[in-house]
């Protein structure tokens, strides 16, 4: 691959600075993502405090095994993404492409299982707010639980889709040899984003399915 100068943007004086800037920017962006979900988690906390019984019952009605399998799937995909990054640090773009592709397949499996779960909710009438038609949980707690459930998991699913797109673009570019051992920052940032998506699920799973 060509020397460092190819990757250096005109306004940076060195590649180290540019890399440092890109990493810092990504971490700050991840912080805003965390805060976005924090607002929803805070809302969840408040309503769980207001309707402890209803939330417990509604949560018990969820299919924990799907959530559990999905957790495993996502953690595995994070592992394959990390492997892909490791390939990139050694300048093996094709390896990165392969492992990122594998991660995308795992993400698709995650979304598939999520879709199965959503279908069950639709049939059971476990829907948010005024659409709630189930008699499993009495009182206003049930509809609110499912409003938050769909908001949190829905927003997370959107992030999964965005993450898949990012992995696809970067994996494809890596396969064409766009990065090199001495410069693979985009691979690293894409991997960071995917780990965030994974990490958020690590919080969502116990919060919604287990407690």
């Amino acid at each position: 691959m060509p020397a460092n100068t190819t990757y250096l943007a005109h306004h940076f004086e060195s590649l180290e600075k540019q890399t440092y800037a890109a990493r810092l920017g990504m971490w700050l962006f991840l912080a805003t993502e965390v805060l976005l979900f924090t607002a929803l988690f805070a809302g969840y906390g408040v309503y769980r405090y207001l309707y402890p019984e209803a939330f417990r019952e509604a949560s018990r009605g969820l299919e924990t095994w799907i959530g559990f399998v999905n957790t495993l799937v996502l953690v595995t995909s994070s592992f394959t993404v990390a492997m892909g990054l490791e390939r990139a640090t050694r300048g093996d773009g094709r390896g990165t492409r392969l492992l990122f592709g594998l991660s995308i397949l795992l993400a698709l499996a995650f979304l598939g299982l999520k879709a199965v779960e959503y279908t069950h909710h639709f049939h059971a009438g476990e829907l948010p707010g005024r659409y709630y038609a189930s008699d499993a949980v009495q009182g206003p707690g049930g509809p609110i639980f499912f409003a938050l459930y769909f908001l949190i998991t829905g927003l997370h699913a959107i992030h999964v889709v965005i993450g898949m797109t990012v992995l696809a673009v970067i994996g494809w570019r890596a396969g064409r040899g766009a990065y090199a051992a001495e410069y693979h920052v985009p691979v690293e940032l894409g991997a960071l984003y995917w780990h965030l998506v994974d990490l958020i699920w690590i919080f969502v799973f116990p919060l919604i399915y287990l407690v």
Binding site: A9, H10, H11, F12, E13, K17, Y20, A21, L24, G25, L28, F29, A31, T32, E33, L35, L36, T38, A39, L40, A42, G43, V46, Y47, L50, Y51, P128, G129, R130, Y131, G139, P140, G141, P143, I144, A147, L148, F150, L151
Partner: protein, 555 residues
Amino acid sequence: MNPSLARSEVPVWNPRNYLNSPETGLRSWLLTQDHKRIGVMFLVATTIAFAIGGIFALLIRIELLTPGPTIMSAQTYNRMFTLHGVVMIFLFMIPAIPSGFGNFLVPLMIGAKDVAFPRLNLLSFYVYLAGAVIALFGMVQGGADTGWTFYTPYSTTTITKVVPVLLGAFILGFSSILTGLNFIVTTHTMRAPGLTWTRLPLFVWSIYATSVIQILATPVLGMSLLLVAVEHAFGWGIFDPARGGDPVLFQHFFWFYSHPAVYIMVLPAMAVISEVVCAFSRKNIFGYKAVAYSSLGIAFVGFFTWGHHMFVSGQSAFNGGVFGVLSMFVGIFTAIKVFNWTATLYKGSILFATPFAYFVGFLFFLVFGGMTGIALATVSLDVHWHDTYFIVAHFHFIMVGATLMAFLAALHYWFPKIAGKRLPEGWGLVAAVMIILGFNFTFIPQFLLGNEGMPRRYFSYPEKFWPLNVASTAGASVLAMGLVIVLVYTLVALKWGPVAGANPWNSRGFEWNTPSPPPPENYETTPVYTHGPHEYDLPGVETPPAATPEPKHAS
């Protein structure tokens, strides 16, 4: 120290500047990644937004000229004050100084060629435009009538077009996040050699603190606005008491952002003022570190004060007291700044130019508005003033009084750098006097009205409030006239103004080390900093050489 401000060189226009290089076409502007052009585009866009918001404000004042209906229906009136708030806050005040002047100046001040992420910077502008267009579309469609606070459950049940306005504000939040992110990374990574944190211009410090707030608070606002939109559109019941939701939770979410957002508006104002006060008293700032750290202090404490908007929302008296005391901490940090600015003036060599006139106005409005803020943070007093014109006058003193003064100070101070032309000093002072007096006549009557019990957001009022309302409207028209004068002479100066030269104020702020208007790459060689900004006590640092020989005769 050289107190003389007489220009020692013939002003030169920099022929190869960011306005004409590398290209001049519309396309080159729309696709530019130059922070200076993006800053200018933000300034133009926010000025247009300011004009729209100002027209809404004038319509509101005209309506309140008489106790009964004057020119519009009650419903239209509700829409007017909502749109006034939304436009002024989300489209003008939040982006104007950070995204406009900040974009232009931060890289110049730190000796960088551009911000860290130029493409993201351009994206931020287009996200702003998209948000603005969606919000304006909602306004054309009939607008919202909820007030800019979008309090539930009214905002989720109103028949007006609240969803596009909410989505517009949501999207604008992303623009704000992107700009904040860019500035934080830029400040960390792009500083030129020798520019340590304690040599950083105070403008950059304050913009940095603003960016921290933008990054930490805006996502929460985005989420809560989205929740309101979802609830209004689909009835999911998160904030709907009829479905077991908690409307007060929305208030917590909303003010968790929107109180820090007040500091997104006022910290950049303080950033401008810290530069102006140095340049026009020809002294370095008194207590540099105290001013710099107090910005961070305000940013930090600002996150723990939101409850003072909710003293009458069923919050416990204990919570109210805690939030009240925490709110007063903001007063401490602000006072640190005010004392340091005034101490900077002491024994300075003051040049009473237009930016300085706005500085004086700023100081008065900030102190007056701030003191009423301390009073309002006292729970027992707030219960009396809550939702009256006293509140309206208070936050206009801070948000408009302070921020607008700083915006105008910045415009007059940096216009020679941005456009390479000078603004007319005489007209500038006339307009400044009109704006400052007009502002006082608009809002001091509102303090009195509020104290007598006139509620905010009411369409009509008892006759005993009539005289003060007339005074307020009269003041608003003087204020508007002053602003029109500024707009007119700015546009005239853009074309016909005299050439300013690199440094017409003889300021020692770092941004003046470039020619005016600056070249596209800012600095040909990366500058090396050996001292802080505004060190007028150093002998002749970067003083331009005299173009004509000194007069020979002694007398």
